[in-house]
């Protein structure tokens, strides 16, 4: 029966291991992509090295999720090429990702261990059942995110931070060498934030490349060695000091960014939240006391 099925059904051990450590982990060349008929990314070119941990920042609709779907290989670019560890984005199966909360049915009858085991499915291969080594990988992955004592819980019974950690453990069980995380720290309880930051530090030592989309410029600056600033086009890629500058940030955020000069230095207010509907509200009906817009980030320079 096997010869009638496509080749990619079977896992190929070692495919996730880069043969050449100097090879870029993520390489985009003149990539343009559309999402629902609209150009979401335009002419993006950059390289990331193996083990880079990068915060991807930009306003809403900047194309952060589109960039992730391109790298995961679930969306093909209209133009340009995407290479992951030297193979095309579709050829690589070791991209781990944490899904957006609203994409998951939390009433689904699966336990924590079941979800983590899903990360192994590609490697176990068709017509086979999980073996002892797969169960060990699952247990180890859960231990690394401090969730092993909750392995038998149904996923809906966990807190938001614990759920986030379960999906991180799934990516670990998948032996991903490229991790895509969307707002992994936002709104989490402190133990979960610490567990995730701790894990990111471990992954850095293992040479796992991590991309984190975030609205939080402070987090981007404090926890990541590299920042990728995006708004449909690539605006900057480098250290936080190089990228999070008033001129680049105002290129990315445009009218959503306010620079306030004070005696103590420049204060940047980047309104990065949710929708833009409240912006005209401010213009039409000035409030007696100007309230800061929700989810405002500040950086002192």
């Amino acid at each position: 029966m096997k010869q009638f099925l496509p080749d990619n059904l079977h896992s190929e051990a070692g495919r996730c291991l880069p043969s050449d450590p100097t090879m870029p982990s993520v390489q985009l060349r003149q990539v343009t992509a559309t999402y629902e008929g609209v150009t979401a990314l335009e002419n993006i070119t950059f390289d990331l090295a193996q083990g880079d941990q990068v915060a991807v920042v930009g306003p809403n609709g900047a194309g952060k999720s589109t960039l992730f779907t391109l790298i995961a290989g679930t969306l093909a670019p209209v133009q340009g090429t995407v290479n992951i560890y030297g193979s095309g984005a579709q050829g690589h199966r070791c991209v781990g990702y944490v899904p957006q909360r609203n994409r998951i049915d939390w009433k689904f009858p699966v336990t924590v261990a079941d979800v983590v085991m899903m990360g192994r499915v590609g490697r176990i291969g068709l017509f086979r059942w999980p073996r002892r080594q797969d169960r060990e990988m699952v247990a180890q992955a859960l231990e690394r995110v401090h969730m092993h004592d909750l392995a038998r819980r149904q996923i809906g019974e966990l807190s938001g931070g614990q759920q986030q950690r379960v999906f991180l453990a799934r990516a670990l069980a998948q032996e991903a060498n490229l991790l895509l995380l969307d707002e992994p720290l936002t709104g989490l309880d402190l133990p979960s934030q610490e567990a995730i930051l701790d894990l990111l530090a471990q992954l850095r030592q293992q040479g796992v490349t991590v991309l984190v989309a975030t609205h939080n410029l402070n987090q981007a600056a404090s926890h990541f060695a590299k920042v990728l600033l995006l708004n449909r086009r690539l605006i900057g890629l480098g250290t936080p000091q190089e990228v999070l500058t008033p001129s680049l940030l105002s290129q990315a955020y445009g009218s959503q960014l306010h620079i306030i000069r004070s005696t103590q230095g420049d204060l940047l207010l980047a309104d990065t939240c949710c929708d833009e509907s409240h912006v005209p509200y401010f213009e039409e009906q000035p409030l007696p006391i100007p309230k800061p817009a929700p989810a405002t980030e500040s950086i002192f320079s």
Binding site: N8, G73, R103, P109, V110, M118, G119, Q154
Partner: protein, 286 residues
């Protein structure tokens, strides 16, 4: 009359014995596949598919083939048709289902209306008659049931990933299109198996009700499938006895028992039942 006699008496009739075997098989298969149907939100698809295979049944009837063969061909054609119509995203899936469902059902009724005794035949197909199951039918049902269960077992983990997190299925490079069609075909097969017991109009209940009952009582897929299969089988057997002693049509009797099971679980499930959820806050307060 002792309880045992009460249970055994109907089985002296060959048609009741065959009916009992058919009901049990249908209960197990439908309720197992039903778990996928409700988790994937495919209730409407299941109902539509049951109606859309009518032309196949009529064709098989006219040509003198086993009804299951005609039903199976149209079931698979319909599944592929709906998949192909909505695949590009131009037409929403529920719209595609509606179009294929109504069109195909109309074709079936039109074909049937050209044959004499139309009203009787239509009623038979719409509501099924488990007591008319032949030995040959039983073997066909058994063969198809084994196929369905085997496929579920072979692709268990891949189908689980596809239903729970389709993006992961793509990222792991699982053959998602193949798996999607496989699921549609499995549901088509299941409907064909169930057709003679409950008919087109009520087959949806077999797919959805026991699985929904099981979801209230369990927290993992394997146990949900098991509980669902037990519920479905029990409902069908009890329904069959009811139809014998109370003299009501067997298909509706089975569906009513399954519905009763669901209502009980909905009200009294140990953790997720309505009663416990209403009482828990009061108990904690007082």
């Amino acid at each position: 009359m002792s309880g045992l006699d009460w249970l055994l008496e109907p089985l002296h009739y060959g048609f009741m014995m065959r009916g009992l075997l058919a009901s049990m098989m249908v209960g197990i298969i439908c309720s197992t596949l039903g778990v996928y149907v409700i988790l994937q939100g495919m209730a409407f698809f299941g109902d539509a598919l049951a109606h859309a295979i009518l032309p196949g049944i009529v064709l098989a009837y006219l040509l003198g083939w086993p009804l299951a063969v005609g039903a199976l061909i149209f079931g698979i054609l319909t599944s592929i048709g709906i998949g192909a119509l909505s695949h590009k995203g131009e037409i929403r899936e529920d719209t595609a289902i509606g179009i294929v469902f109504a069109g195909s059902f109309a074709l079936g009724v039109a074909m049937l209306s050209t044959v004499g005794g139309y009203a009787v035949d239509l009623a038979h197909i719409l509501f099924g008659d488990v007591l008319a199951v032949s030995v040959q039918d039983l073997w066909v049902m058994f063969g198809l049931s084994v196929c369905v269960l085997l496929i579920v077992l072979l692709f268990y983990k891949e189908l689980l990933v596809l239903i729970f997190d389709p993006v992961l299925a793509k990222v792991l490079r699982l053959p998602t299109t193949f798996l999607r069609y496989l699921l549609l075909i499995l549901i088509a097969l299941t409907i064909v198996i169930a057709l003679q017991t409950v008919g087109i109009a009520l087959v949806l209940a077999m797919l959805v009700t026991p699985a929904a009952t099981a979801q209230l009582l369990t927290r993992r897929i394997p146990s949900m499938m098991l509980v669902s299969a037990i519920c479905g089988m029990a409902a069908n057997v009890i329904g069959l006895y009811l139809s014998y002693y109370v003299n009501i049509a067997s298909g509706p009797a089975m569906v009513l028992v399954a519905t009763l099971f669901f209502m009980l679980a909905f009200l009294f499930a140990p953790e997720r039942g309505l009663v416990i959820q209403k009482w828990k806050p009061r108990l904690q307060q007082g």
